[in-house]
Amino acid sequence: MYKSMHQIPSSSRLGKMPDRDPMRLALQSGLEYLDRLDRRVHKEIQETRSCFLKLLDNCQSDVTMGDSGGHDSTVDPQAALGDFNAILDNVISASFAALRDRFCVLQPARYSTSFGVAGWLSEGTSTPLGQPPQGLLPGSTSSFANYGPVAQPFLPQPQHSTYLEAFSVIYDPRDTQLLPEGTYPVDQDEVQVLADLMEVNVEKATLADLLESDIDIDGIDFDLEGPTESVCDARAVMQVPKDLSIDNFCVPSKERLIIAPGVVATRVRPRCDGFPRQVFNPKDIECLSSPIAPLNDVCINGCATLLYSQLKIPTVDCAILSTYDLPRIRSNAPDEVIWRNTSWTRYWEKNMWVLPIHRPSDVGHWVICIIYFRTKELHLFDSLADQNPWESDGKDIMKLVGRFLTVARQRHSGVQIDLEGWQTRALNVNPCQSNTYDCGLWVLAAMIAVLRGRHVTGLLEEQMSDFRHYLCSLVLSLPART
């Protein structure tokens, strides 16, 4: 039911189903109003948040100054508190007052409190009301509210599925800036980031936990027909099936990873964790340091090795293949060429292969495929969510699997080859990239999810700038060529 609702715009649905029940019309109009209010309040909250952030910065600078024996006279804590209260009063009471007025008109006595709003909304779940084109179904259950930003990364602003949610939990990618001090080990090494940063973002952790409770990563019995339908937010469920876990990797904010300006020299990463030596020339580093440069093969392959060493959890048993591997298959490279360039991954011993893929065409594009041998699945991720090219890519990927295993079996006995019954699965339905340069970052984000034992990245487009900076800092932390 909700799936079909998702596909039918509210206007056409309303046009087809004129509703003469005045109660329904009133409810409908109320819901639409709530959506408008939701957006407005969200905007106000964003503004308030930035005010708070400024205040917080002032507080922090105050503390820092205090340590050195001084006191920043420009920041008066009392005045700051006054600002805080004023902002709170202004935003929240104004919104609630408007809401209350509206509901008093609709339903004089019963729905005049915030509790009433929640109850009122929950009725909406069973009422097939139309929904505004940009808003989520207002009646979604609150436990799935956090799907909002994950489900629609393409939207410029995170969406909230219930009005109440807007007051209780606000997801904002900038939350990462409000992390408790010391979460990132920046003091020891400005570019070292631990693997288990997930706990710091409460909203995202909740979402992942919620999903993971239903997941058996090893013994997956996937619904291969498509994402599961449910009574919760239809769009979210369409994008993230319950059996897939969303990664909650937190990208350190730029402020926490300081990169000293200067001439960039070639960085060399010696042989490490089974990977051969990696060389990043200034031109490659420039791809990462520029905010809008597309990534090249060196960035993808090189950063993959760095992320593997930085973030892979012990239970993940994967081979990171190279962006050159699929081109070699496509050009029918001889066995010895394949073996020479891939044997270091010991891919035949792994139950999962991570294959970054370059699509040439006029303007190149990066996508990624995760090859799961236990479940015989190809997980496909394209930040533009273009499903069409996967058909030919999928054939090439299976050809690669067959060739790689055949080549390995010639040299190692006991390598099993089973190419029957494989299934493909798109990890995203909607695009998460709206620019012309971040697809490489999305591929690396997808890779991080896998290295951390998850299926789908939970990063948002607005975090890509910080992510780029994080990758750049990882590369620059390598020793310069001597």
Partner: protein
């Protein structure tokens, strides 16, 4: 004295052998092969430049890989422990963003 002379002569021969040219095969992903003879202490950037000229491409747009590892400008056959008749694999640079036209077509 005669023994010493013999020793130094042996060392010279060894040095000569150390810098003796080796044959290196450069293979593209499509299987095209180009052969080079290069001294063991000569920088491989010379070989890279010569190959790029031969195939008519910018040297920066070509990746030279030895056993899966990218060759650095100042590497030499000696520094990489290369042996006679070893192979260098060549791949073309890959860059990916996405086409603005495609993005536009996807806009709701």
């Amino acid at each position: 004295m005669a023994e010493e002379q013999q020793n130094s002569q042996g060392q010279e021969e060894f040095k000569l052998e150390e810098n003796a040219p080796i044959n290196v095969k450069v293979v593209s992903s499509t299987g095209d092969e180009v052969f080079f003879k290069i001294k063991r202490n000569t920088k491989l950037s010379k070989l890279q430049g010569a190959y790029a000229t031969k195939v008519g491409k910018d040297v920066g747009s070509i990746r030279f890989l030895y056993d899966g590892s990218r060759i650095n400008d100042d590497d030499t056959p000696a520094s990489l422990d290369m042996e006679d008749n070893d192979t260098i694999d060549v791949m073309v640079e890959q860059v990916g963003g996405s086409s603005p036209a495609y993005l536009y077509s996807r806009r709701p």
